[in-house]
Amino acid sequence: MILELQNLKKYFATQKAVDDISLSIEQGSIFGLLGPNGAGKTTLLRMITGIFYPDEGDILFNGKPFDPINDIQYIGYMPEERGLYKKMKIGEQALYLAQLKGLKKDRAMELIKEWFVKLEMQSWWNKKVEDLSKGMSQKLQFVTTVLHRPKLIILDEPFSGLDPVNSNIIKDEIFNLAKTGCTVIFSTHRMEQVEEICDHIVLINKGKKILDGTVKGIKQRFKENIFRIGFDETPATNYNNTFEIIKQNDDHSLMVKINEGYKPNDVLNYFLQQQSSIVAFNEMLPSINDIFIQLVEGTPAARQFQPVTD
């Protein structure tokens, strides 16, 4: 475990920003921190980066109590609000931020050049930040975050403002970093990226943790036994107690929800007995997006489907 949070609390005058959150993050994993706006993500991240002190609870970094002054050099933090000195030259800025992280000048130069080559930014060195587009400054910010080879990289919405090409470049770099043993904490609202990138996710809302697990595990936990069955021709179905049809698609397929106590085989048996020719049968797992909305709104996601049974 690279990072463990135990009963972390941070109250502000008007709200409980973080209210008793515990979680642990394994070394080398890509960890997704999800939550609606104002859930307390930024406050949580600021405690992990040593910007805020928690009111209560402990943070263990590498198994030892987190000591911001010394441990900060092992952490790279890219906040949601991007910030760079507009009037400073790109190269100098990267060097300055690297030196603040405790890198020696020569070493920092070496690493900056390496990264600039990798991300095709060599020609930027003498440009000023104000000359860069939003996506370009995003790339620069990413480089300055990971330059000092932190053990723990915290990225708050790293893809906002990036085009698909640059977005993929950054994504690949994140995977590479994770492979070399870096742990990545990722805070985002973009759920498709979460499913694609993260091993483990935690969902927080109103300062409390409401979900914690691997992406696969969570999908299994929230599955609603909904299957899509494809036919040559849409069969006429009567009411029966094995399943209910929740949607009839135009491409001769049905969305069915298997009732409790029955198995997919029971559904297949039913259609086989009806002499229907089945061409496809697959389980519809909920997307993280659906789960997110369901949990945050407190309403079952299934309710958004309209039952079309006769």
């Binding site: 005058a13 980066t49 040593g50 906040p79 910030g83 760079l84 009037k87 400073m88 030196q99 603040l100």
Partner: protein
Amino acid sequence: MNKIWLIIKREYLTRVRKKTFILTTILTPLLFAGIFAVVIFITIKNVSNEKVAVVDQGGYLKSSLESNKTVTYQFVADVDTSNFVAKGYSAVLFAPHTGINQTANFKLITEKSLNRIANTKIERDISRALENNMISQELKIDPKQIDSIKSRAENISVETSKKGEGGKLESSSFDVANGIGYITGFLIYITLFIYGTMVMRGVMEEKTNRIAEVIISSVKPFQLMMGKILGIGAVGLTQFLIWIVLISVISGVLSSMIPPEVLDQVQQNNSQVPGSSQQGSEAIRNLAAAQNTLSSINWGLVVFSFVFYFIGGYLFYAALFAAVGSAVNEDPQDAQSMTFPVIMPIILAIVIMINAINDPGGSLATWSSIIPFFSPIVMMARIPFGVPDTVPYWQLGLSMALLVLGFLFTTWLSAKIYRTGILMYGKKPSWKEMIKWIRR
């Protein structure tokens, strides 16, 4: 410590390398030199000679009107308003026919208006002529006797001396000390403003740019704040140093270029005051006295305390400016209303200084030079009057110690506001909220 050094270096280098810094640093002394040159130029211009024709049938004025470089009087009879221009005069002066002792009957007709110096001279000369006439007619005394009495009386100069240590008497000139006090006090006042607001803008820039959060995940907020304050302070010292060097070089070059006759003319202009025929020698005596006092002033102490009060006052106020910068958002109007409480004591200090400098030993001057809010400006104005006679050692020591304690306190206070403020976005915090940040 290493990180603070990095921040200082960045703050310093980015500012010093800016074009605006280089321009203002070089242009300001040039501007001074320019103003200096313009003043000299105008002086040369203004001493152009005016020829005045005097039509004085009674002959009352003849003995009293003396020509000089500004105005040349010529007593002629055949000049009138219609032909004075053609005869090469710039003006014609008509004296009354009936008798001179009538103040209303003098007429001066000019083609275009005369310059101010010539105008004043003519008026003065006429009034002197009147005066002489009245003295000789009504008092029956030779006006020259009055002149000699006046000049003898004026020869007396009051030697103000203070009892120095060990009974040695040091002569001091109030005016010189006054001037030095004014200049140093104002310099500190201006620098507090310029560099204080520079700190505030820097903090606001970091906050609105959102770079503060990135930096604060690498260094402590206190380090960031102190780095900024010290870096900008170093910029200020650098700028001063360059200014002092440039101004002294330029003024040295310029004064060697002024032709000696210009200085002569300037001196002659000054000597046209009635009853002060000895003005020239008196000026030389004054100069000697001033030089004497200049050397009697403890320059080492003045320079040391100037540097001390500049640095102390800057640190005291820069921390407060940094706190204000961290508390406000993009809105410049917010900044204005929040800087008000910080600017107030500085303005108050300069007001106190202007009053206190005329009574440097008074209780207003004494107490306000001890309170750290005002001491950098007020104490600086008092020191040229002499330590330890005007400013006892205990007052200087107490003032310095309190200033050090003061800036430690404001830095501590500001660091608390800064720590929270720099990461707070949205609405402007109220004073109540800021007090809460301090308590936390």
